[in-house]
Symmetry: C2
Subunit: 457 residues, 2 copies
């Protein structure tokens, strides 16, 4: 931990800010920008797909009740909210299904606060598609690196990373949308850092997606305030009473700068194939492989042993979920429904499914064993069949992780599944096409026009 005096930004923070706010959009490698484009497709799918979720509807309604200038869309509707409200509502929406992407090493859901804030500001301020992608890529870099500097102690203590480092990521992307530089960029980051919040106790309630929405709105507000001369501590991260010292007992500021500009954290992004907590995915993969590769049938199962990373029972240990939302935090439910339905998409996590008799019966046959030797992208599933034979599969890299990534087609399929019911398939295709072409768009107007439902179908 680097100390600081009154008016100096520690070297690591200063270098990261310079890189993230200073880089020209055109300098970002194409492969990085392509990742940001994939993230945009995933973000839009999730935000639009969740438009009717209760948490989203409430947030949108309260924002409308408070009012504001019509600056940016509540995605999936024709409603324009003020930019910070659009950031909040779209952040809640894109995280509502617990289906958004993840910086695998730190479990930060970076894209949701990033695009929730920057799409709103880009619409309001008429920024180009390329600038939006670059803001995402660089904001991702900042958010991921701040998270690396805090992980794992910070997360283990009970902080929800998306709520704590999400505001900083969103502030970086927002700051780029407003062309912040110099002291204003430092203040922008500082105003965001001091809004870091969100306890893991809230998992399984509407307050969890609220963390992502709050992060987006906090980041956008930080940029707007800093753009107008609002000040913050110069060393908000590394100072003696700053974010790192207060929110972690062990932090590693070197992570802010190591290999900066040489390697990109976005290549460690995971895109979720299953609509539930990311730590449950290796176990689901292992079971689906037992089914597809070894012909395991539900009727044959005597019992199943799941060896998983210790965080899995801690985060997703609910044995008797009562709602679809709780089911997303129940590894045994997720595994059971995946085996029974052959899928674990958004529609599987319904209130009706968690109480199904066949689901409950299968859950009772699943045993969970934490294994500290396993990484959180790994799991081993062993099924004891009624005929006495045991079959087993070990997953090294869960599907959707960087080492076993979803290709662009699989990603587009996830997008269409989410967006089709809201926009219809024709418009969903149009929106998808606009995303793949966004880097040459002078602004977001064509893309966002395609996101507005054209009327009752």
């Amino acid at each position: 931990m680097t100390g600081s005096n009154d008016d100096r930004t520690s070297a690591e923070t200063a270098a990261l800010v310079e890189f993230v706010f200073g880089a020209a959009s055109a300098e970002i490698p194409d492969a990085v920008l392509h990742e940001s484009k994939r993230c945009l497709l995933d973000f839009l799918g999730l935000a639009i797909g969740a438009v009717a979720e209760p948490a989203v509807a409430i947030a949108r309604r309260q924002c409308e009740l408070l009012g504001g200038h019509e600056q940016a869309f509540a995605l999936g509707t024709a409603t324009r909210l003020r930019a910070t409200d659009a950031a909040m509502v779209n952040g809640v929406a894109a995280h509502a299904f617990d289906f958004d992407d993840t910086h695998v090493p730190t479990i930060l859901h970076a894209t949701t606060p990033l695009y929730a804030a920057s799409v709103a500001l880009a619409q309001w301020r008429g920024r180009s598609g390329l600038d939006l992608l670059a803001a995402h890529a660089l904001g991702y870099e900042l958010g991921a690196r701040v998270s690396l500097a805090l992980y794992p102690e910070h997360y283990d203590a009970g902080w929800h990373m998306t709520g704590t480092t999400g505001p900083l990521a969103a502030a970086a992307a927002s700051g780029r949308m407003l062309n912040l530089s110099g002291p204003a960029a430092v203040h922008c980051l500082g105003i965001a850092a001091t809004q870091a919040c969100g306890h893991r106790e809230q998992f399984g309630t509407m307050a969890k997606p609220f963390h992502a929405g709050h992060a987006a709105a906090a980041g956008a507000l930080a940029a707007l305030l800093a753009d107008d001369g609002f000040t913050s501590a110069p060393d908000a991260l590394q100072g003696r009473r700053g974010m790192f010292a207060v929110m972690s007992t062990v932090s590693t500021p070197a992570d802010l700068v190591q290999g900066l500009g040489e390697r990109w954290e976005i290549f460690r992004n995971g895109v979720k194939p299953y609509a539930c907590g990311v730590v449950t995915h290796p176990a689901i993969d292992a079971l689906l492989r037992l089914q597809s590769e070894a012909g395991l049938s539900v009727d044959d199962i005597e019992h199943i042993d799941l060896q998983v990373h210790p965080l899995v029972p801690e985060l997703t240990g609910k044995m008797e979920p009562r709602t679809g939302l709780e089911g997303k935090f129940s590894v045994v439910f997720a595994c059971a429904i995946a085996l029974l339905d052959g899928a674990a998409g958004e529609r599987q996590f319904s209130d009706a499914n968690v109480t199904r008799a066949d689901v409950r019966a299968l859950i009772r046959r699943i045993r969970l064993t934490p294994d500290a030797e396993l990484d959180h992208t790994q799991a081993v599933a062993t099924a004891k069949r009624k005929d006495g034979e045991s079959i087993s599969r070990r997953v090294e890299h869960a599907s959707g992780t960087p080492e076993n990534r979803l290709d662009d087609d699989a990603l587009a399929e996830k997008f269409r599944d989410l967006v089709g019911p809201v926009l219809g398939s024709t418009q969903a295709s149009e929106l998808e096409r606009r995303v793949w072409e966004i880097d040459s768009a002078p602004d977001l107007s064509a893309l966002l026009s395609a996101s507005v439902p054209s009327g009752p179908r």
Copy 2:
């Protein structure tokens, strides 16, 4: 620390919520309501007095740029903002001078987030003066008790109490303005708790009053969301990954309920007579007593020894402040200017004063000694005179603390000093009169009309 299962609120939290949200306004003791009325006068004085401060002007301008329905005044102006924005702007304003009141045992600046949120909601929703006072008294009780359960470890770790427990206090007062009860009250508190934030690194920058504004807006938003069915964790404070466990290594949930309804925390409220960090006040008192009682003259001073609580140099140890704002966090500057000007009001903490030659010369003669035997309301000042004689004064209870409180007249004088320059003395008197009569007002309209500047003077 009481653990919790999935759907239960721990007993202490449940009892506190029931008391704070459930009590009828008319049941609150008159003496308690009178304290809340005094706090309202102080709050309005500070919020109106700071109307032209840069931090306040920036916050107000950005809120106007974002827009909203005209629900509540930015105090000291004719501008109506949406309620959550008014909460934010008025919260920034009332804390901008570092001159607002303090729950002495925990250094929580309770009133600023409380009234910033509840005055805005009361104006919007047409609530009575009595209901407003009761919301303050009960919100104060909740905020102070949550702070007691966390103090001192939480504060020592670097959290700014007003940013962390302020949202809970504001949520309680806001929840009463919306008549929340039952599960909605629990969710309101939970949504606020998970927005707790604010690092002490930000002291001396605009981000410090922003913490108070954020707390007010976060509390108001929590109430609005909960009122519409938004959910949070049932045990957001005492749950295994809840606020207490995450934000402190030592918490004392018994403080939430001990003597609840028998003693009132508002009687431990301190009202600041000096416009600087509250921990500097005992030292200022001691020096002013050396001046008034022992005839100490600045020209006679060889040097001054100040024995102070160890937090004093930690929080206000700046030896060479460069701005008036930094001067508020410099005990040696505050003491020097108080001796030289015979006062330590808002106008003393100017950019010009911190660089005055006589001030700098006197600062160089002051030595600071931390003394762990002293309470933070105590200090000892010893002046060695040029004639070789030493004179000393010990302050047990700084002026403005509960044991040495400002009477209503002294409080009104502080109010007039702050408000007079903005509204003129006639209107300031009218506003003061409306405050003293607020408990019989059916709504806030007459009071707030008197808060709007009547035009150029």
